[in-house]
Amino acid sequence: MRDLDIRIHAKRFASRLVLHELGFGADDGEFLALVGPSGTGKSTLLHLIGGLDDDFEGSIHWGGAPLHRPGEAPERLGMMFQEPRLMPWLNALDNVRLVQAGSTDGEGRAMALLHEVGLGDAIDAWPAQLSGGMLRRVALARAFVVAPRLLLMDEPFVSLDMPTGNRLRDLLLDLWQRDRPLVLFVTHDLREALTLADRVLFLSSPPARVVLDYHVPLPRPRRLEGSEIAALQERLFERHPDLLSGMLEVR
């Protein structure tokens, strides 16, 4: 039994089938990337796992028990969205502290994390005063402040310039290697997936299911612009031209 066990029989919006017989498992501490053509229900899947949508047929288990039980908080869960989604009326520190359970050393931990993501000087800044990259750093600190066992990330570094995105990806890997949560990282960028993940799950076009479960054979650290990643991507496209047709647009 894997630590995370996902079996979605069907997820519909109105009568449209979005996810169909989509299943996979993952172990604690693993870094999984989910890639697939845009509009294939990757965000929908994360919403189901995050408990933001419970209208589906299937099950999501964590450690052998349902991840979401009514009236019970799940195992520590962190989530990062496409947009930073900070509360504009809370400063950086309060945004991080917002999601903490009421523990006494909470402020210390939140401060330490903000320092770690390089925002030591911006602790009391309003989100309106921060750049796109800095907002993502706060959101990253917010995701890790709950010491997540399961971290859901929905294209969190999309629409950032390459250096800013790279710094955030490095930061994420540092934090992941220290805390070792199970990460589900949704992206439509195959190179980003190959750079970050242990395993890459390829989703089909809708109704989505897992069409390829790929173990990334490269050692860490990897570089997004490096030739290894480019070569690996090339090999994948050659070996699975049909499976990856939906991905061609983002090459």
Partner: protein, 246 residues
């Protein structure tokens, strides 16, 4: 501080225009600002003005809190639940268009000439406008931010105070400001019709004596208090709640 200077100058300009008009008219029905000020001072010294003023302010405060509390709750629910919105919409339109005078008369007849009836009548007049404003805010609430609260399993109270209500602040401030303006006007009518104290009652008495100076003195005193509330409470509060806009 230049904004205070500008506001002061503008008010002074109004007073000067008034003085000029009074000087040209030279009639007992348009006393000069100075005469009104002296009259107000005399009423203040006798203790009469503070008594009636504080009575009226008490009624304004209670009906304001009542209207804001009930109106906000209904507004949030109507903005959130479509069915409730449809069900209550007719009553809301009725409430918005019911003349204040009708509510006041009915409250006095049904509940007697009491302070409870007076305050209730004022609140009933104000609730519909609070509902309309807050409902607009509740409809515009950002569900993406609420999803953050749900994903991290925030306790309901924290979600309300830190994620939900801050989105309504601009609407609540607008409702509060309009509310204050509307409520003190209606409170005077209510006092005129069925109370034996308060600024409205006093205005009516002086109207019967045709004492224009005293009427203006009371009006001036009350207007000053409202300006102070706006300047010392409402505006600083608004600034504090929107300081993050940068």
């Amino acid at each position: 501080m230049s904004s205070w200077w500008l506001r002061g100058t503008s008010l002074l300009g109004i007073a000067l225009l008034w003085a000029l008009a009074a000087w040209i008219a030279a009639s007992p029905v348009l006393p000069s600002p100075l005469a009104v000020l002296i009259n107000a001072w005399q009423h203040a010294l006798s203790g009469e003005l503070p008594y009636h003023l504080s009575t009226t302010l008490g009624r304004v405060l209670v009906s304001f809190l009542l209207a804001m509390g009930i109106g906000t709750a209904i507004g949030i629910l109507m903005g959130r639940y479509r069915k409730l919105d449809v069900a209550l919409d007719g009553a809301l339109v009725l409430g918005l268009n019911l003349p204040a005078l009708v509510t006041v008369i009915l409250c006095y007849i049904w509940f007697g000439l009491t302070d409870v009836a007076a305050v209730l009548a004022v609140a009933l007049n104000k609730i519909p406008t609070v509902v309309v404003t807050v409902r607009e805010g509740a409809r515009a609430v950002n569900t993406e931010l609420l999803d953050v609260a749900r994903a991290y399993r925030l306790p309901a109270l924290r979600t309300l105070c830190k994620v939900y209500l801050p989105q309504l602040y601009p609407y609540l401030m607008a409702a509060a400001r309009n509310g204050l303006a509307l409520i003190w006007k209606i409170v005077l009518v209510v006092e005129l019709l069925g109370r034996s104290n308060g600024v409205g009652f006093q205005l009516y008495s002086y109207y019967q004596f045709f004492d224009i100076t005293a009427i203006l003195a009371y009006t001036l005193a009350f207007a000053t208090v409202i300006l102070l509330i706006e300047g010392l409470v409402m505006r600083p509060l608004d600034r504090h709640l929107t300081r993050w806009r940068g």
